[in-house]
């Protein structure tokens, strides 16, 4: 299914396996702020693309356009899937529902039967390692566990394209690194393509097959860097010279874009 959601209809053909394709996308808000200008990005099957950039560069806007929450004011966005998962900055759990019923929510909104959504939720809870916590309420969970619940909730959609808006930004470093590894494990196992927003350079390099570096406002793409490290990642890859070099390359591009 092809959803073309933009100012002008899609004319250019997209390469096979492309799940989302941004062509010359610009975003101008009604108050005059220009958040994005001339952005070209695409995410194909098997890719995990991370967008890094300084705060306020419009990287979250890019993701909101991808999800359909916002419409680009210029350019073309072609989306070739209707199974899109979206993970917000905070876990956005419903406080009055336990883990089980929070994870069931999206299937429930899609009108699925109780036993079917229950089965989906059980599988997703298992995937994120929360089995045994089904009856816990959000207020009883740590930040990391809330994020796992949020991930599980999106996993019930069996997404082909998974969008992440700085999901681990509020977590401590140990939890964050652990969840990075969990995410890579899910990426390898579930086979979704990822588009991930962060302002942490090392997180970007560690998670991705491709890092897109954006400049400060209005956000433009400064550089796209392929990350040739093997998947799934070895946590110790962080201490290799190759990793350090890639981090250096991304950081340089960020600094150039900021100047």
């Amino acid at each position: 299914m092809a959803l073309t959601s933009p100012a002008t209809p899609s004319v250019a053909t997209t390469p096979p396996g492309t799940l989302i394709d941004f062509r010359d996308v610009a975003m101008r808000f009604p108050n005059g702020t220009v958040a994005l200008s001339g952005v070209d990005v695409n995410v194909r099957r098997g890719e995990f693309v991370t967008v890094v950039g300084p705060s306020g560069c419009g990287k979250s806007t890019l993701l909101r356009i991808a999800s359909g929450l916002e419409r680009a004011s210029e350019g073309t966005v072609t989306v070739n899937t209707d199974r899109i998962g979206f993970v917000f900055q905070d876990a956005t759990l419903l406080a009055w529902r336990d883990v089980q019923r929070n994870v069931e929510l999206l299937a429930e909104l899609a009108g699925e039967r109780k036993n079917k959504r229950r089965a989906k939720a059980d599988a997703a809870i298992e995937l994120v390692g929360l089995s045994g916590f089904e009856k816990h309420l959000p207020k009883q969970l740590s930040g990391g566990m809330k994020m796992r619940t949020s991930l599980a909730r999106s996993l019930t959609l069996d997404p082909e394209l998974f969008l992440f808006d700085e999901p681990f930004g509020a977590l401590d470093e140990i939890t964050r690194e652990r969840l990075n590894d969990e995410l890579i494990r899910l990426f390898v196992k579930q086979g979704f393509a990822g588009m991930f927003i962060t302002h942490s350079v090392s997180e970007a390099v560690y998670l991705s097959t491709k890092v897109v570096v954006m400049s400060g406002r209005p956000g433009r793409i400064v550089k796209t860097i392929d990350i040739p490290l093997p998947m799934p990642r070895d946590p110790d890859v962080r201490y290799t010279a190759e990793f350090a070099e890639l981090v250096g390359e991304v950081s340089h591009a960020l600094r150039e874009g900021h100047a």
Binding site: F88, Q89, W96, G129, R178, P235
Partner: protein, 289 residues
Amino acid sequence: MTDTVVTEPSAVVAEITPARPSVPKRGFGSRVVSAAVSALPPLAVFAFLIGLWYALNAWVVRPKFLLPRPDQIISDGFMNDLTRQQIIDGVWQTSKVVVTGLVIAAAIGIAWAVAMSLGTWIQRSTYPYAVILQCIPILAIVPLIGVWFGYEFKARVVVCVMIALFPMVSNTLFGLQSVDRSQYELFQLQRAERWTVLTKLMFPAALPAIFVGLRTSAGLSVVGAIVGDFFFQRGTPGIGALLQTYARVLDYTQLFAAILVAALLGVAMFGLFGLLSKLVVGRWYEPVK
């Protein structure tokens, strides 16, 4: 740092375990002690006020019957069979008015707020009138309510509704609109219909605020019922009518007994809804510190 590449649930458990809800188990004795410690300050104030009362009666207020002693209020007011029966009947009548008025105010208030949350134009066109309703001095229109609705039960209930409506409307609306933006977007991404968003997201999220409204309105409804009694003499009189009768015949011990009971009725309503709130939303609601 471990050598394993894929972190399987063993690592997960390590993160999860400390977060298990661990309410520190305390002994019965220490719980009794801490309950006593937290009850001490209000009890001390209570003792001080009673002491002050006796002192005023003994040395300040003349003639003494204008401020009867607490023990006189109990012996003449509550131990007197006739007075006690009158007060019990009065409280029963007033409670019926209070609860009826509150239920109607809650139903109208919640429905109104829901309508406003569904359509901005409804809010823009009708909310000013909720504010105006709140600003009208109730005493100014009570005589009119009597003319329109008769001087009995119905008119008393209308006074309660008028006085209790605004906190219901404003608190419910506040609750419905305090939904987190990204939670709303989560529903939007699933193309959920307005009604679904309302029933599965906005209304449950608004429940704590709705209970705040109910508690405020319950107290106001008691005030409304007593005000109604002062103006409407027909029908079965409530505690407000008793207050007037006792004041007129200068029976101050009975008057104080009735005032005490009227105040307790308000406190009881407040406490009842506090308890209900705890039962309904206390399980999951986590007030911001």
